[in-house]
């Protein structure tokens, strides 16, 4: 079979090819928008033109079949135009309002979920997990599915004080913006890695392995031509494993997830925030991680009941104080919550004023 002629360094196709005419015409000249329902909105241009968006949930892992099905709907209702969002939802871009209802009907029929717009939960940012990554210490897709099944109403219809951004990281590499999410799951190890010394000596760059360790727990061991880990100092981040495969960090009995809360990305009202530790460990319970789901649900419910309108999770917590967060959610406070990594200093309370 002769291959078509390959090209290099052409970059992606220019986006203009894929813009619907209403966008091309009104590019940069949008006046305002209105949320019409949990999953639909209209943008109005200065010219008066309107663009209707219908947002549909996606599991992100999509088969070519499903993508073809989506494409066919796009051809039917939005002149073939569609896009994906930065959180992996699908958006149909309609210029013809009259096609909204039939599209929504067909989507409903085909069991697609329409939602994610406005002060709601949108798709959970997540990555590979056991589906594709050697580094995973939980599965991302399974947790996402389980959590979103539970919170589905908050995607489609129910509203919250503000958007709540959820994320799942399948290891501390955190391939997403997990570290700045309203509520996120991050998978962690709890045991010092086990080293296959013979292979380490043959296959790894020792200096790279030594310098990979955030806590300087690793020392070269010239005798074994391998390395030694100071168990006292290791906090199981797995970075040594990343650079040196024979350092086994996985431990199915002990691997699990932590829940972090209160992060945000936008600069509205308050500065962007890192998420902070809420629950240090929940064991992996495939296929549906019931404890993880319950924990997230609990935090979300307490937030929904206590936050002011427009307050993000982190803004609410900072207003009432972390003392109250732990009290209201009933989550136990442990030694793990107290920072002892590089930047512990600023996390400790240095004030005589606090709540009980």
């Amino acid at each position: 079979m002769s291959l078509p002629e390959r090209q290099t360094d052409i970059g992606p196709p220019h986006y203009e090819k894929f813009l619907p005419p209403v966008i091309k015409k009104n590019y940069g000249k949008w006046a305002h928008h209105e949320v019409l329902s949990g999953g639909t909105m209209v943008h109005v241009a200065e010219s008066g033109d309107k663009l209707y968006t219908v947002r549909v949930a996606s599991p992100r892992i999509l088969s070519t079949d499903t993508i073809r099905e989506i494409c066919e709907m796009a051809e039917k209702y939005s002149d073939g135009y569609l896009r994906f969002t930065t959180r992996n939802n699908v958006e149909f871009l309609l210029s013809d309002q009259s096609k909204m209802a039939p599209l929504l009907a067909e989507l409903k029929d085909k069991k697609y979920s329409v939602g994610g717009i406005g002060p709601r939960i949108s798709n959970i940012v997540h990555t590979q997990g056991w589906v594709h990554c050697h580094s995973a210490c939980t599965d991302a897709s399974g947790i996402v599915k389980s959590v979103m099944d539970e919170l589905h109403d908050y995607f489609t219809t129910k509203t919250l004080p503000n958007k709540v951004r959820l994320a799942v990281a399948c290891c501390v590499n955190m391939c997403g913006a997990v570290h700045c999410s309203d509520i996120a799951v991050v998978a962690i190890h709890r045991k010092v890695p086990v080293i296959d010394h013979e292979t380490v000596g043959k296959m790894c760059e020792i200096p790279t392995t030594v310098s990979s360790c955030p806590t300087s727990a690793i020392r070269p061991n010239p005798k074994t031509k391998s390395i030694t880990i100071n168990e006292e100092k290791c906090m199981y981040c797995g970075n040594c494993f990343t650079v040196c495969p024979p350092i086994e960090i996985h431990n199915p009995q002990q691997d699990g997830v932590a829940i972090v809360v209160g992060g945000k990305v936008g600069s509205l009202r308050t500065d962007p925030k890192f998420s902070k530790l809420a629950i240090p460990y929940i064991e992996n319970e495939p296929p549906r991680w019931p404890k993880v789901v319950a924990a997230i649900k609990n935090i979300l419910d307490v937030y929904a009941a206590n936050a002011k309108k427009h307050e993000r999770v982190g803004e609410w917590i900072e207003r009432v104080g972390w003392e109250d967060f732990f009290k209201l959610t009933g989550i136990p406070f442990t030694f793990q919550h107290i920072d002892d990594f590089t930047f512990m200093r600023d996390t400790l309370r240095n004030s005589a004023a606090f709540k009980y």
């Binding site: 390959r6 999509l62 088969s63 499903t66 569609l82 050697h134 399974g142 199915p252 600069s267 296929p287």
Partner: protein
Amino acid sequence: MGGKYKTPMLDELEKGPWPSFVTEIKKAAKRTEMADDELGQVEKSYVTKRGYWKHGGIVGVLGYGGGVIGRYSSLPNEFPGIAHFHTVRLNQPSGFFYTAEALKMIMDIWDKYGSGLTNMHGSTGDLVLLGTTTENLEVLFAEYSSRGWDLGGSGSAMRTPSCCVGQARCEWACIDTMAICNEVTQYYQDQLHRPSFPYKFKIKVAGCACDCVAAIARADLSIIGTWKDNIRIDQAEVKKYADGGMNIQAEIVEMCPTACMSYDGKTLKVNDAQCSRCMHCIAKMTKALKQGKVKGASILVGSKAPIVVGSLLSWVVVPFMELEAPFDNLKDLADKMIEWWDDNAKPRERIGELIEVKGMRPFLEAIEMPPVPQQVKYPRKDPFFFWSESDFN
């Protein structure tokens, strides 16, 4: 094909209203052994609570050093279909816009040479094709590139830039995010395909402080739209919001972080000198409030995930910069940043980490930016600081 494995665990994940990735894998498994074996291996992971993938491999296409992630099952005998299960990163069009036609073409080729599974999209932004073999890589590349689609980044290289939908649909985009994203992607083609940096370098472009692409949290170079002049207020529309039941005092005025707004029940006022352009009031009253007209971007640097020194958010280095095509000022600036980083970093050291090690001063000097108060939340506390000979004049 398909149905080689019993998957009681995964079947549980086909229940419930949210779309199921298991259903997707099963769909593909009907057509490819790859997807079917993937299903089997993931089921096994669900039982044993561990993954079965070998540590990432080095595979790719000729002339490129990245764009493909090598992946091998650690149980190739048990799951031969995924003995090789590499991912191909196709560089997405800016803003993730597609036509059905283009997408179907991509799928058709993928069905021919791959697992039939995708990630729409990868977390960096690429259109990720999930699972193929080493021998199919060159073929896939020829098929796609001949049709105008190139690979995205991987390795110690420029990574696929990405952006929010911006001016294509959003009334708040202060800069043309898609044009900028496309331009830097094209400008850095060599660095994107042929890893030559100390580590990865990511660029993300958001049109305003809402930051719908999380640029501030996960890009070495974060470009975020903003404006300089006064917020424009349409009092008639303000009234409509009030009439519509909005509690303007509580929801807007009292939530303004700089306390620069006031509302007497009739007129909404902004003390613009105090406004920090946080976007809250505008976002919640989009019909009544508009940004000023002098638009541009803030340039921030250094965010990343927690490994090694703890996660970083990007830091402001250039508070305001006008950005007009062909964005030469931006490319110049990025070049200077990368050059300084390249000259100074250790292997696997991100630019944010390097700034932490070296301090802001050499970095700002390298990019020829003066120190300005906008770069800090607050000045240093301890009276320990350096002096250069140049400070003594």
